[in-house]
């Protein structure tokens, strides 16, 4: 299908459509638009340099995200450090975090702020699964971590997010008694 296409044409078709999504993920991971743009440019530069090694027909999007998270962690090493978390496989326990519905009164900006407050290890997994809709196996490949770790980080990240938003909702006077009589 793409045997007679030049590398430039293949890159254009396979890599360029993901630019906006990559920028948005970079923005959530770096927290600053200038840095996110630098990272996005770097991702495409690195991708183009090693595009000859990329196998046609494989998952270009996942490959670009892998480069993205490599660049983000490289930038972080250059700049500042996020506190590292101890990996804890409390998958079952983390799933039992008291959930809360996202009230309509909570704005997109508040949801983004809650996401940005997550430790980066959790935020990356939540972004990749919930926003970019990658499968657990793909996320494991992108972040170079085991699938079980993806699941536990996802569960804990979502739990923290729900807790944060539930607290926010309570400040608006929403959902104070909702859970009491509905749990079985």
């Amino acid at each position: 299908m793409c045997g007679d296409q030049s590398p430039e044409e293949r890159f254009e078709i396979e890599a360029m459509p993901h630019l906006n999504d990559l920028f948005r993920t970079a923005l959530r991971m770096t927290g600053e638009r200038g840095q996110a743009e630098d990272v996005t440019q770097e991702v495409y530069l690195q991708a183009w340099r090693s595009f000859k090694r990329f196998e046609a027909g494989t998952n270009c999007r996942a490959w670009l995200y892998k480069i993205l998270f490599h660049c983000v962690s490289h930038q972080r090493r250059k700049g500042f450090r996020f506190p590292l978390l101890k990996e804890n496989e409390e998958f079952l326990v983390a799933n039992l975090v008291q959930p809360a519905a996202v009230a309509q009164e909570i704005t997109d900006g508040e949801i983004l702020a809650a996401l940005d407050d997550l430790p980066s290890e959790f935020r990356s997994v939540v972004l990749l699964v919930d926003v970019e809709e990658f499968a657990y196996k793909e996320v494991a490949e992108i972040l170079a971590i085991p699938t079980g770790t993806v699941m536990s980080r996802l569960s804990r990240g979502r739990g923290l997010l729900r807790t944060h938003l539930a607290e926010l909702a309570r400040t608006y006077g929403i959902g104070k008694t909702r859970r009491k009589d509905t749990r079985s």
């Binding site: 360029m16 630019l19 906006n20 999504d21 920028f23 948005r24 993920t25 923005l27 959530r28 638009r33 200038g34 743009e37 630098d38 996005t40 440019q41 495409y44 530069l45 183009w48 340099r49 998958f91 079952l92 799933n95 039992l96 959930p99 809360a100 519905a101 996202v102 909570i106 997109d108 900006g109 949801i111 983004l112 996401l115 939540v126 972004l127 699964v129 919930d130 926003v131 809709e133 499968a135 657990y136 699941m151 996802l154 569960s155 979502r158 997010l161 729900r162 938003l165 509905t182 749990r183 079985s184």
Partner: protein, 142 residues
């Protein structure tokens, strides 16, 4: 509390698998168990709905963030000239060069222009004395 029959999931186990169910990561058998539990437990059904709702709100919020105008063009430009420094770095280097150039020009202007304080003070000193660094000794010996 929902009554649990043989082979049915308790709410605790259900919620432990709920994320995987929502992410479509369970096998067929696991999915069937979840669907069966949904039919019996309104609380867990609501819980699943809440989690889906959060996921949807999160996705929409992230995807609605605007991308900087001209980003695609800047990426393309950078790919065409991969060895050029990034615009920010280039501007920074140009700024340093401009400051150094200005400082150098100012120094020359102050020391060379006839009538300026520096040239008035050392007007009796020849340029060769200026160059070889003896300017500070000359007035004492003259």
């Amino acid at each position: 509390m929902t009554q649990i029959g043989f082979g049915e999931l308790s709410c605790q186990k259900f919620r432990a698998k709920l994320d995987s169910y929502i992410d479509n990561e369970l096998l067929t058998e696991g999915n069937l168990e979840m669907v069966e539990h949904f039919r019996r437990c309104t609380s867990c059904t609501q819980e699943a709905q809440d989690r889906r709702n959060l996921r949807r709100r999160l996705r929409d919020a992230v995807r609605e963030v605007p991308v900087p105008a001209g980003l695609e063009q800047r990426v393309r430009d950078r790919l065409r000239r991969p060895n050029q420094p990034q615009p920010k770095k280039k501007v920074f280097l140009l700024a340093i060069a401009a400051v150094l150039g200005f400082a150098s020009a100012s120094f020359r202007f102050v020391t060379r222009v006839p009538g300026s304080p520096a040239t008035r003070r050392y007007s009796h000193v020849s340029s060769s004395q200026f160059v070889n660094g003896s300017v500070f000794r000359v007035p004492w010996h003259s």
